[in-house]
């Protein structure tokens, strides 16, 4: 049963619902990056590769934090600490999920956003831009996958909770895949999604909270 974890499909859903947020931010960024030197837009391939790169980064993060999580759980000497940590962060995830869903405004997924090493990133972007769009797309995506994003942090936290590197990678990968469709939408569909943005972000919050509940349920069972 652990192989087909419902977390994965939930992560995909979260990605999709959360991508209403991405359209504004990442959408603008990707369109800017896809401009060639003479100001024209490069094609679909750029977007596909860029998004692939982003998903790879997410999966990698998931792998890493999942492994960290498993290391934490395995150490039985730390069981008391682990239990508090795990259940505490489950509750935290549930809280910010519900917060984003509109239950209380102060705490929500967006508050998770903290600055990243921006200078370093933009330097690398500048270097990559020297390559042709087709060549730079994948590495650009991989690089900008590290952009600070509240939704991403929330997912990373649940990936830690899964306490399994494979599940972590799959969860984060599914999340990345889920964000892709919305970024490909132009015109009517994109504006439709944008118009439903608040609604979708709330639903994403509920999803996150559900994932937290699922983990919490598992952890209570596992640790008792």
């Amino acid at each position: 049963m652990q192989n087909m974890n419902p977390l994965i499909s939930m992560a995909f859903m979260t990605g999709f619902l959360g991508s209403a947020h991405c359209i504004g931010m990442c959408g603008g960024l990707v369109s800017a990056l896809s401009l060639t030197a003479d100001g024209r837009s490069s094609g679909l391939l750029f977007h596909i590769l860029y998004n692939l790169g982003r998903t790879i980064t997410y999966s990698f993060i998931g792998l890493l934090v999942g492994w960290l999580g498993s290391a934490m759980v395995v150490r039985s000497s730390l069981q008391e600490v682990t239990r508090v940590l795990l259940i505490g962060s489950d509750l935290f995830i549930i809280l910010i999920g519900l917060g984003s869903a509109g239950l209380f405004a102060k705490l929500n997924i967006m508050t998770l956003e903290i600055g990243g090493p921006i200078r370093l990133m933009s330097k690398a972007v500048k270097g990559l831009r020297k390559l042709s769009p087709a060549l730079s797309a994948l590495p650009l995506g991989m690089l900008l996958g590290f952009l600070p994003c509240g939704m991403l942090y929330a997912m990373a936290l649940t990936a830690v909770q899964s306490a399994d590197s494979l599940t972590g990678a799959l969860t984060m990968g599914a999340f990345g895949l889920g964000t892709i469709p919305a970024l490909f939408l132009v015109g009517s569909a994109a504006q439709w999604i944008s118009s439903k943005k608040n609604w979708m972000l709330k639903a994403a919050g509920i999803m996150v909270a559900l994932m937290g509940c699922y983990n919490l349920f598992n952890h209570i069972r596992m640790l008792s």
């Binding site: 049963m1 192989n3 087909m4 974890n5 419902p6 994965i8 499909s9 939930m10 995909f12 859903m13 999709f16 947020h21 504004g24 931010m25 990442c26 959408g27 603008g28 960024l29 369109s31 800017a32 990056l33 401009l35 100001g39 837009s41 405004a105 967006m110 508050t111 956003e113 903290i114 600055g115 990243g116 921006i118 200078r119 990133m121 933009s122 330097k123 972007v125 500048k126 831009r129 900008l144 952009l147 600070p148 994003c149 509240g150 132009v186 015109g187 009517s188 504006q191 439709w192 944008s194 118009s195 349920f217 069972r221």
Partner: protein, 801 residues
Amino acid sequence: MNATGHTPLTCLHCGEVFTEQDPVYETINGQDCHFCCHGCRTAYQIINDAGLQNYYQRRDRKTSANKEAIEAEFDPEYLNQFITRHNGKATISLIVDGISCASCIWVIERVLQKQPGVLNARVNFATHRILIEFNTQETDLAAICQQLAQLGYHPRPYSLNASQKASDKERRSMMFRFGTAVFLSMQLMGFSIALYAGYFQGINPETRQLLQILAALVTSPVIFYCGYPFLRGAWFSLRTRQPNMDLLIALGSLSAYCYSLYAMMFGKEVYFDTAAMIITLILAGRLFETSARHKASAGVDRLLKLAPSNAQVRRNKEWVRVASLQLQAGNLIRVTAGERFPADGTIRKGTTEVDEAAVSGEPLPIAKVAGDTVTSGTLNLTGTIEVEITSAAADSFIARVASMVEQAQARKAPIQRLADRLATLFIPLVLLLAIATYFFWGGGQTAFLHAITVLVVACPCALGLATPTAVMVATGRGADEGILFRGGDILEAASQITTIAFDKTGTLTTGQPQVVNVSPVAITEEQLLQRLANLEVSSNHPLAKGILAYAKQKNVTPEEIDDSQCIPGRGIKGENDGIFSFAGSRLFLVEQGIKLPEQSSETTNSQVHLAEAGLYCGFIELGDTLREDALQVIQQLKRGGYQNLLLTGDRQDVAASMCRQLHIDQFHAELTPASKASLIEKIPATQVMMVGDGINDAPALSTARVGCSLAGSTDIAVDSADIVLTRPQLGKLPLVLKLARCSMRIIRQNLFWAFSYNLIALPLAASGQLQPVYGAAAMAISSICVVGNSLRLKKIRLDDD
């Protein structure tokens, strides 16, 4: 201002409006910048640091703006008619010309949303429509339009009619239901797979219970929200006691759902996935069908969009802009270069060139002068002209064509009635079969599943879709090609045609006389032509047009003379430097006391004689010429195995010579309109298509199995015809027949497919060989196959033999 007193800010990166709740401030290059979130700030910084600032400047670009658009003025009063007001918010829908890519949308939306007073602006890329919500106290529409024009996009008001609004709404709600169903079903899959795995590997009861509850939670909206159209349809079918397909779907999914709820309470296996999948897959089929229908009617929209929605009309000695719909016959309108004509009319002042490609398919611009007619939807190319409207926009050529296509798409082909009758018989049988299946398998859990499968798999959707989709796509394709079918019945009839009867004048011939002979007396041919042209230039008569066209061809330019006067039915009287000249019929010249030589021989052609200063100068003979493609078309039809027949009111020898020229098998000459019709009635046991254009052909057109008229035909001919070729080219005729035959072939394939699907799937389901989910998938796939097969008509090659 909102309730908490925060000022709304606009995010510098994504353009999203947000309140000052948790803003992100940054001072970049000495400027205060606001962002809605850290992500946007980072994105902004990266874009700036990577030297891509001009991405943001794109919003203010003016490069592609054309001069005309920038200088355009927007009359607030006119625009006001299109605004709908609600709760202090005003909304307007505009069509914007000049949108070429997704970044245009980006630019428009961002710029508009930055405008004070604009609450919301959304651009639809597919339709180039933009919906703006704004506050009338802070801004007015003219300013918004001005802003758009300055960006290089030319806005014009757009008003949806009620039916379009309804179908748009239906499509949107369908999309929404389907989207919801897909994502919830995917979610459900996660739970179900876990449950299945647990079933085989063992699972602890609490986990199972939790997963089952979660599954029930996501399934309920799928059934009751996404599946609402089916539930409602089923309810109505019960109330009217006419079982339909919705009933089968509703019964199938509801019974799986209710049983699963029951099973959940008592710790048995649940089948929520089955219930949700049935709804999701069938919605997929419906959605595909709706979008195919939308595609087919897009052609009509395109046609209607050709005519602009507003026009400058003369009211009390002033030019004012009004909606095209308000134009009445007799109104004088002004059309500037680059505009399309909003209605049919006659030019009163000015000369121009008109691109009629949209209506006639003629690619070259046509010169038009005062007195010439213009058709709605055609494009005024070079000059500003004043046009007197001859028919209201709603009765214009374009509008009539569009309504014909729409009606055609709704008319049923006889073959469909068969399918309908079968479907109504079919459903009670299926219900019985499902009950029988349940009891045959002993009434347990498996029996229940088998019965559900029967219900789901039997849904005769494919059967119901087989004909209408093909008819819709074929009529849409026809409209693209300039062929209008009046309905599915006409498609079916045209596919059975064996004989084609042609009218002569205006059908096989152009109906426009052309010079065939110039015979001068005492002067050169050129002199004769020059003098006649000088006189005829003031006339509108077809013969005058023929002579002038010939003169132009020979590089003879008409010269101005002091005075000229048309005498109806006779000819033209002119005066130059005191010399009188007469041009016209033999009779006219005799009346003027001119001595003419004896008529050499009987001729079928028309003659224009000229006399100057009392002396006879000769005549020009004009004849009706064959259409360029007439011979080719007749040969093509003969190769296709069709019989050809010429019906004309003309004399025997004329008809005989034409038949020889065109290799037409048979002819009947010297016919009256009534005898044309009765002749067609008499042709035994064959299916005749009549092709004609005149008032005199109207009875024959309606008597024939299929009547076909050409663009430029008289209105009554168009109204009596079943098929109209919107371009005056006979060459489309073989295409008509080919398209009709192809459509019937596709319909037969569809019906065959739908029947065999049910014949194979039903026994399988009843014998318990199919899971309900596979049943639903098979059902959806069979519908999609049918619709896909119909869509082939859009691409099928028609021009080869």
